[in-house]
Amino acid sequence: MSTTEDRSDAVTDAGLPASSPARTPARTGGSSPAPRSRRRSIRAAAPLWQWRTVDLLTTAFLGAAFGVAYWAWGLAYAAPATGLEAVFPPLQGVTGAPWLVAGVIGGLVIRRPGAALGCEVVAALVSMLPGTKWGTATLVSGVLQGLGAELAFLLLGYAVFGVGAALLAGALAAPLEAVYEWGTYWTDWGMGYKLAYGAILTVSGAVVAGGLGWLLTRGLARAGALNAFPPGQEVREQRAV
């Protein structure tokens, strides 16, 4: 069931009104101009702001699944964080990076405005409800982290979703969160430590959330779990070549 742009252009949509939002494209996933070069990402079906049901549900379900994982990491991270703290306190930023991954993956999979923010916020909400160390502050962090990742995809015009975009999204998920943490958790640190923490969180955000997030998205697409989305279509087209 491989699709190429040329063939799908030839498909007529006879008798089916093209107006209902979930059904405008004759094929799902993407509908951008033909991705001739291997490097080009496939965009979400236009118009970008018109979310299909499966886009909404996948954002929410991915977020919920990450929320469960976030909650578990909230219990497990303390040991490595304490170890890093003993070496150099701002190094704790490394253990904060896994909490940035939902936004990156939401953006990479759905490729619509708001997906990164939505996915990260749902993950934060779900991890907060059973009780975390940070209480409702978890949700505030989720919003700030999601906004950062969203900003990366916005800067790229929701058109580029390669590994570079993932690294950028992972990196930008960090700064707002770091500044917020300066004011809540690291109030007694000097500016040097605060900046070091921000830099470490940003770099590890790029590597852990961006890099691993990109690998995870590719893995999910290869597992056939993203058939309704552009990453799934990219895998199919690679196979078809």
Binding site: M1, S8, V11, A14, G15, L16, P17, S20, P21, A22, R23, P25, R27, T28, W51, R52, T53, V54, L56, L57, T58, T59, A60, F61, L62, G63, A64, A65, V68, A69, L75, A78, E85, P89, V122, V126, L129, G131, K133, W134, G135, T136, A137, L139, V140, G183, T184, Y185, T187, D188, W189, L220, R222, A223, G224, L226, N227, A228, G232, R236
Partner: protein
């Protein structure tokens, strides 16, 4: 997938659609429902008209019931789920109750409308899906193997409901099935597709069966009037005689009791008895069938036998020769490590996809042999021969996640037994299989039995029970009486939004608090308010564990505060006051959350966000649907972990690498399952008009109550105190 298919359905006609797996039956159903673009990929040509119009012109024209029970459940309660379609078409809420009640009555669901949807049996969930479709008054009903995953009792209840509806409302109905017998009295037309998705027969069922019966049988379809298939033969020498010999008790469960604790999103748990005082002996060279209605604990008993679950009472013991050098000689498989377990025991769960651990079929079959350190060339030879027997040898290099359901089931069985463990435990090994896969799986089961393996199968399948050497019937355990209704604390009267807002107000309070004395005063005020909020005036028994719950939720916060204090003390020249300031600030921020967040009703959150904050309706509904499924993610997590443990690749404390591999497999597995769930639910929701639901109504009103205002005002007090601290005239400590 499908090519050049023309079908005309007169009103009221009942069509049975059959074809081999992969012939595009499900695709055709989605096409008829106008839902091909929801979560599929590919190309489409042609058109579908219902009553002369596009099926999407009116929401709910076509009602759809999916194969997996519960896959289309949107809401947390029964009544709300039926109302989902009505909300989508914007029906005023006051007109909903009669239509919901009528739809539930039509499918004979008589439980209270606030019954949780996850508490329903599979058959009840399928009837709930019918009711949800019915509320929108469809003119065509599509059922995609609606009874394939149900036990006979539940399957009969679903068929009875479909029959009644089709008769009383003259609904055109299309049922996809590969078990023809039970549906034949219902159908008045039988349509047969071939493997290429082309129409090969179409007519009255008896005529088609007379002409095509043998051809259907060859496709693997269960045709009434023919004998059950004969289990496939296993070539001699594939399995060798077992080391225990025949008729020896390999695994012995005595007086086993298992209770299940289901965690809820609010942190509380509900406890049920899954297995009550059960005895079972699995003997080598015998197939032992475990039968009983759903909910009788067959699968749970199987997990206890396999050492994959803690038992609350009783003992599970393996034959001493199966210990394989266990250090302290425990005979309970629960105490064995992953390699010891894999050597002696195989367990195949009902959902074969969760047991997949490798990226090619060959690696999948070789996984356990490699984990046990068997000689690669011999193991590979056996794997090849087994794949040939099961008709999977041409797929050796294929990613197992891309196989069909039937292929995955055969692969799961092959991977579990290729190293010939002494005991095979298989959960519903034949449910939903076509005749060909059935014969392959049962052939393997009987081949193992003949090689002195002790086989235990949970099953509802009469043909399997007839071939078993022994059968044990389980009954549903009696449940402990439900706890009395307790008085509710005052904060429980608040809605989710005010609870979240009140706990969030602690963040600025903590941030502006200037030093530890101020934070201490804030914390004292917060605790006083918490005591007031947790008070539960009124009649009836007092709620228990309020303080304990808050304390449990504060433990991580206390650790966090302690860590901040420690780090500040180290950095800040060992000043205790600085350390105390950092620590208390964290406690001020998190304490209100520890009190309040547990009372957030996740099911009501969507209603409140949409009606009170006026967030866009469709994203809010998606969020609510995801929240009410969160508890299932934990089950997926547990099942993947069990599958890895019994396959010999579980995490062990000795190997950090195995822990990492396990974590990554669990994460990916949980994501894949949640993506599949989202795709299936998207189809079900769009079939009930969600795609076009821009202006929804809401069956349950969300109101901002006086209690919400009181809570917010109370939560503002600590913030004001923190803000005004420096301006206050009295500071006794200065």
């Amino acid at each position: 997938m499908l090519a050049g298919l023309d079908l005309d359905l007169p009103p009221g006609q009942r069509v049975l659609l059959v074809g081999p797996s992969g012939s595009g039956k499900s695709t055709l159903l989605r096409g008829l429902a106008g839902l091909l673009e929801v979560a599929d990929s590919g190309e489409r040509a042609g058109r579908v008209l219902v009553d002369g119009a596009d099926p999407c012109a009116r929401a709910g024209t076509v009602g759809l019931v999916l194969q997996e029970p519960g896959a289309g459940v949107v809401s947390a309660t029964v009544g709300r789920d039926v109302a989902f379609g009505l909300e989508n078409i914007g029906l005023p809420p006051d007109q909903m109750p009669p239509r919901v009640a009528a739809a539930l009555a039509a499918v004979r669901l008589t439980m209270p409308q606030d019954t949780p949807t996850h508490a329903l049996s599979g058959g009840e969930q399928q009837r709930l899906a019918l009711a949800g479709a019915l509320a929108l008054e469809p003119s065509l009903l599509l059922l995609d193997e609606p009874t394939a995953m149900l036990d006979p009792e539940n399957a009969a209840s679903v068929r009875a409901s479909v029959e009644e509806l089709a008769t009383s409302r003259r609904l055109s109905t299309v049922v996809v099935e590969h078990h023809l017998g039970p549906w034949l009295p219902f159908a008045d037309r039988l349509v047969v597709l071939d493997a290429g998705g082309r129409l090969v027969a179409d007519g009255p069922p008896q005529d088609v069966l007379a002409a095509q019966g043998d051809a259907l049988l060859a496709q693997g379809i269960w045709v009434p009037g023919y004998e059950d298939p004969r289990p496939g033969a296993i070539p001699p020498g594939l399995f060798t005689a077992g080391r225990l010999g025949a008729n020896v008790v390999a695994l012995d469960a005595a007086d086993v009791t298992v209770t299940r604790r289901v965690p809820r999103l609010d942190g509380s748990t509900s406890t049920t008895v899954a297995v009550q005082s059960q005895w079972l002996q699995a003997r080598t060279g015998q197939v032992h069938a475990l039968v009983g209605p759903s909910g009788s604990g067959k699968s749970t008993l199987m997990l206890a036998l396999a050492g994959l679950l803690d038992t609350d009472d009783g003992t599970v013991r393996a034959h001493p020769h199966l210990l394989a050098g266990h250090r302290d000689g425990s005979r309970n498989p629960r105490d064995w490590d992953t390699v010891e377990l894999a050597t002696s025991l195989a367990w195949v769960p009902q959902w074969a996809s969760s047991t997949l651990v490798a990226h090619t079929v060959l690696d999948e079959v070789m996984t356990t042999s490699r984990a046990l350190g068997l000689v690669e060339s011999e193991a590979r030879e056996r794997a090849h021969r087994l794949l040939v027997v099961l008709g999977l040898d041409h797929l050796q290099q294929v990613d197992p996640r891309h196989l069909s359901g039937g292929e995955q089931r055969r692969l799961a069985m092959a991977s579990a037994v290729v190293h010939q463990p002494a005991v095979l435990l298989a959960d519903e090994a034949t449910v939903g299989l076509d005749r060909l896969t059935w014969a392959a799986v049962m052939g393997l089961v009987e081949g193992l039995r003949d090689a002195d393996v002790a086989v235990v199968l949970t099953t509802h399948d009469e043909a399997v029970i007839a071939r078993a050497d022994r059968a044990t019937a389980l009954t549903r355990p009696s449940q402990p009486p439900a706890r009395a209704v307790h008085r509710r604390p005052l904060v429980a009267r608040c809605g989710p939004l005010s609870l979240l807002a009140a706990s969030a107000l602690a963040i600025p309070a903590g941030v502006v608090s200037p030093h530890w004395q101020a934070s201490l005063a804030l914390l004292a005020l917060q605790m006083l308010l918490a005591l007031l909020g947790l008070a539960a005036p009124g009649r009836g028994p007092a709620p228990r564990g309020r303080v304990r719950a808050v304390a449990a939720r504060m433990v991580p916060g206390l650790l966090g505060g302690g860590s901040v204090a420690w780090s500040t003390w180290l950095l800040g020249g060992h000043q205790v006051s600085l350390a105390a300031t950092g620590c208390l600030r964290v406690l001020v921020i998190v304490f209100p959350s520890a009190v309040l967040v547990q009372y957030v009703d996740a099911d009501a959150l969507g209603d409140h966000l949409a009606q009170l904050v006026h967030l866009p309706a469709r994203p809010v509904v998606a969020l609510a649907a995801a929240l009410q499924r969160v508890h299932t993610f934990g089950d997926v997590w547990a099942e993947i972990g069990r599958a890895r443990r019994v396959r010999g690749v579980g995490a062990t404390a000795r190997s950090p690498r195995s822990v990492l591999a396990q974590l990554s497999a669990l994460t990916v597995g949980m994501l894949v399952r949640s993506l599949q769930a989202a795709a299936a639910l998207a189809v079900a929701m769009d079939a009930r008009g969600f795609a076009t639901a821009q202006r929804r109504t809401w069956a349950a009103p969300a109101r901002w109550r006086a209690a919400d205002t009181v809570l917010l005002l109370a939560a503002l007090c600590p913030l004001v105190l923190a803000w005004q601290w420096s301006a206050w005239p009295w500071r006794p400590w200065r």
